[in-house]
């Protein structure tokens, strides 16, 4: 039997030990690869509607890098820990340390390449399937699944680097190992004694997190900073670092306090379990914090945009608006009504207005404005405006501030070939109007005294008279067909036909790439979180079985076991969500500032809250299921 035989025997014999490590390595490679196919898809890059993506990419890149490094490191430590006793036996039997290092390196290289191959293969299959499902669910048609050599190369390079680091680290670690500590390792007390350094570093972590909020506000409100992806990278790295310090150091402090508290003996098994596995647990909690940050951020964003496009669309005053002026947008008598019959209509108004050239002194104003009588204005909007003869009000209907060309106190003249009338403008203020600003290109309307209006109206020709057509449907989401029919009948005109359904669709379309990417990545991170937890429980099951077997012989009931396991799981399941919610909301805040300004922030934050609540609830369900299943697995072996 040669050395090579030993390695081979070892490998085939200890499959289970390798399996967990192999699985987790393959999993993170798969995840990374799926991510790489997304960012390197040429359909998604260099589009003008994907501005948001240039911010999302750096953020996710940090997250996925942190995840990969930490997760493989975690899995590797768990793997090596389980094997140290075996190494101890080899050394006792006379294997020299060089041979042992070779053995371990060979193993690592083997598992590394195998998981790289598996991860890439499964990743290729999944990313295609996954992207197609999401594309069809979101009804996005202009993105195609592309694959080329680049994601493969990127994944290979990244993981080559990670595995190389693992191997080098392992090399140095094994140089200072001795047999005794190797043989003991699986029993050894892993918890670190609390020191005052923990308080200092933990406090520093907390300070960094607080500081990151300040930084967040500064970055968000500064145009130069918030458009720089590099700043985003730094912001992410700092926040994650702060979270890590909080978890690792404050975690130690909290366990220390718990050990001193009166709750200690009540919960001795759960607390000592957390304490002794804290080196591993803190990594898991950190990884999960990163993952849930990304899940919350990436799921809440498209969810908000979905809701937002509906909210924005519903802000339209009417579901279908167009303006008929002169010979533009004229339909034969009864044609409109006939077309509308296909859909249930809740209201259909035709409103007359005058449409006159305006000048200030001899200076002509660039846009003509609709003019109506105060009587009509009041009856339409429910206002109680009073306008004297010879006076006029400019009612601004655009939401952007300003007078929009008419200054209060000045006199303006309406003219049309034969006549001209001047009015003294009392005020220029924003007010209600019954139509939007798109169907007639104006941002304000002019209200004059009813008698003045009669006079003007009598002298105006048909060419200076316009009609607002304002139509509302019972259910605007089904109005696509009717709207298209009317549009076709009116043909291409200079005056736009504005409809809620089309506004809604174009909003959706503008967001589609963003929606697609963030949904895909959000789900990826969510699944990753679940898998990490599953992986953790899988690797720890054997040890829990041993512990509870002992406890069972002393006398422990099923119910008590469940409560002990429950408390152990609590920290790992929910602490990451708290950090994740905090960082996720921060990122959403940052994102909305970058893409849309503070107008949409309320919507985003309230939707983020909904997402967080749903996340907590689903995590709660996952928690209960895991707890029951885990206890069941433990009981099975007793």
């Amino acid at each position: 039997m040669t050395f090579r035989h030993v390695i081979l025997k070892n490998f085939t014999g200890g499959f289970k030990k390798y399996f967990a490590y192999f699985l987790s390595a393959s999993f993170s490679i798969m995840l990374f690869f799926m991510y790489a196919t997304l960012i390197l898809n040429k359909d998604l890059n260099g589009r003008d509607d994907t501005e948001a993506m240039s911010y999302i990419f750096p953020i996710t890149m940090v997250a996925i890098a942190v995840f990969s490094v930490f997760f493989i490191n975690y899995a590797h430590t768990a793997f090596v820990k389980g094997r140290n006793k075996e190494f101890g036996v080899y050394i006792t039997l006379g294997m020299d340390s060089k041979e042992l290092r070779n053995l371990v390196n060979l193993e690592n290289i083997f598992i590394g390449s195998l998981s790289l191959a598996t991860g890439l293969l499964v990743g290729t299959l999944f990313s295609r399937l996954f992207q197609m499902v999401i594309l069809s669910l979101l009804e996005i048609k202009d993105i195609k699944f592309h694959i080329n050599y680049r994601p493969y190369l990127l994944t290979f390079a990244a993981f080559f680097l990670i595995f190389a680091t693992v191997i080098v680290r392992n090399y140095f670690r094994m140089r200072k190992m001795d047999i005794a500590s190797l043989m003991m390792e699986d029993k050894k007390d892993e918890g670190k004694k609390y020191s005052s350094m923990d308080l200092i570093l933990g406090g520093l972590g907390l300070a960094i997190l607080m500081g990151s909020i300040v930084l967040l506000v500064i970055v968000a409100n500064n145009e130069d900073l918030n458009s720089n992806p590099f700043i985003l990278l730094i912001y992410m790295a700092i926040s994650f670092f702060g979270v890590y310090l909080c978890i690792a150091k404050l975690g130690n402090l909290i366990i220390h306090l718990l050990k001193k508290s009166k709750y200690y003996y009540r919960n001795i098994l759960s607390i000592t379990e957390l304490y002794h596995k804290f080196n591993q647990n803190k990594k898991i909690i950190f990884i999960l914090s990163v993952l849930s940050t990304m899940t919350i951020f990436l799921v809440a964003s498209p969810f908000s945009l979905f809701r937002l496009s509906e909210t924005i669309a519903e802000m339209d005053k009417n579901h279908l608006e167009y303006v008929e002026v002169g010979s533009i947008n004229v339909l034969p008598e009864g044609e409109l009504e006939k077309t509308l019959q296909k859909q249930e209509v809740s209201s259909n108004k035709r409103l007359k207005f005058l449409f006159l050239n305006t000048k200030e002194g001899s200076k002509e104003l660039s846009s003509s404005k609709p003019v109506i009588s105060v009587e009509e204005y009041n009856s339409l909007t429910g206002n109680e405006l009073h306008v004297n003869k010879g006076e006029a009000y400019n009612i601004v209907i655009d939401w952007t501030p300003g007078n929009h060309g008419i200054e209060p106190g000045k006199s303006y003249t309406f003219y049309n070939g034969g006549y001209s009338y001047s009015y003294n403008f009392k005020d220029s203020r924003s007010g209600d109007w019954i139509a939007g600003i798109y169907s007639f290109p104006t941002n304000s309307i002019i209200v004059i005294n009813s008698e003045d209006y009669e006079l003007l109206s009598a002298e105006s020709s048909e060419a200076n008279t316009g009609y607002y057509h304002l139509i509302n449907f019972k259910n605007w989401k089904d109005s696509k067909e009717v709207v298209t029919a009317i549009k076709n009948k009116l043909g291409n005109s200079e005056l736009k036909i504005s409809s809620t359904i089309e506004n809604y669709e174009s909003l959706r379309k503008a967001y589609s790439v963003f929606l697609f990417l963030s949904t895909v990545m959000g789900i990826m991170f969510f699944v990753a979180g679940g898998s990490v937890l599953y992986f953790k429980q899988y690797t720890e099951l054997a040890e829990s079985q041993r512990t509870f077997k002992k406890l069972f012989k002393i006398g422990i009931s099923y119910k008590e076991m469940k409560s002990i396991v429950g408390k152990e799981l609590l920290a790992v399941f929910f602490i990451p969500l708290i950090f994740g919610a905090f960082l996720g909301v921060s990122l959403i805040y940052l994102m909305t500032y970058i893409v849309g300004g503070d107008a949409i922030i309320k919507e985003f934050l309230s939707n983020a809250t909904v997402v967080i609540v749903i996340y907590f609830v689903s995590q709660g369900i996952f928690y209960v299921v895991t707890k029951n299943k885990y206890v069941h697995e433990i009981v099975k072996c007793i």
């Binding site: 003991m184 029993k187 050894k188 007390d189 009166k262 200690y264 003996y265 009540r266 001795i268 098994l269 000592t272 379990e273 304490y275 002794h276 512990t547 002992k550 406890l551 069972f552 012989k553 002393i554 006398g555 422990i556 009931s557 099923y558 119910k559 008590e560």
Partner: protein
């Protein structure tokens, strides 16, 4: 007064009617009186460990009954059994069964911890019992930091911390060298004499058995014979060796 009564205990492993079933116990009747200190001996596969597991409620018998202080333990449900075991029974195992994550003192307290006793009572009781066995200075160490003999004395302390009606031990010296075994068996003897604790140990170690007051030999799942100590330990040891030769199993021919 009898502490434990077992009637017609039978244990079949595997399918009862199947070809692969093993009869570990074939109708054992046993009565243990208060203050007794009994060793159960027998060759490998004779059913000793099965017997002690059934008597202590870790396994349920295929047929027969076990009564401890008037409580039928073979009919208890899982929850009742768990509570009964940690409050009324003590158990010492060959492999010590200490929890690696807990200090030795915490290990000793464990049955009381599970019962949510007050921490000052627990500490006091653990201190007292560890002092009795001369291991009080190890209180804050962890199991992997001490020797096997010390671990087993901690395990005995843990088994006694709740003042059990009866103390069971399955090969308590099986993993120990003779010096440590001696120390552990001295503990058993001490508590039997000083605290009148009823104890039943399963062992194949004649030296350990010689500390007891009575030795029951079982073979093929039945009680084969029993002997009671009358003279010195040395005499009893010789007597056990003679019986063992009759029972068979491990041969001590030199």
């Amino acid at each position: 007064m009898s502490v434990l009564t077992a009637n017609n205990l039978t244990k079949v492993y595997g399918e009862r009617s199947g070809n692969y079933s093993t009869n570990a116990l074939n109708g054992i009747d046993l009565q243990i009186e208060e203050g007794e200190f009994i060793a159960i001996m027998g060759p490998s596969g004779s059913g000793k460990s099965t017997l002690v597991s059934i008597l202590s409620g870790i396994l349920t018998p295929t047929a027969g009954s076990v009564e401890i202080c008037g409580n039928r333990i073979d009919t208890m449900d899982q929850y009742e059994m768990a509570l009964f075991r940690r409050r009324k029974l003590g158990f010492v195992f060959q492999e010590f069964n200490l929890l690696d994550n807990l200090t030795l003192k915490e290990n000793v307290m464990l049955p009381m911890v599970l019962d949510k006793k007050d921490s000052s009572i627990m500490k006091e009781k653990a201190n007292e019992i560890m002092k009795l066995f001369g291991i009080e200075e190890l209180a804050d160490k962890y199991p992997y930091q001490i020797s096997g003999g010390q671990q087993q004395r901690v395990a005995v302390s843990r088994a006694l911390v709740n003042d059990p009606t009866i103390l069971f031990a399955d090969e308590p010296t099986g993993n120990l060298d003779s010096k440590s075994a001696n120390a552990v068996m001295n503990c058993f003897e001490k508590i039997n004499i000083e605290k009148k604790v009823t104890a039943l140990i399963v062992t194949h170690d004649v030296f350990a058995a010689s500390f007891c007051k009575k030795v029951i030999f079982i073979k093929d799942g039945k009680i084969f014979m029993n002997i009671v100590r009358k003279g010195t330990r040395k005499e009893f040891l010789d007597q056990i060796l003679d019986c063992q030769a009759i029972v068979g199993g491990e041969s001590n021919d030199l």
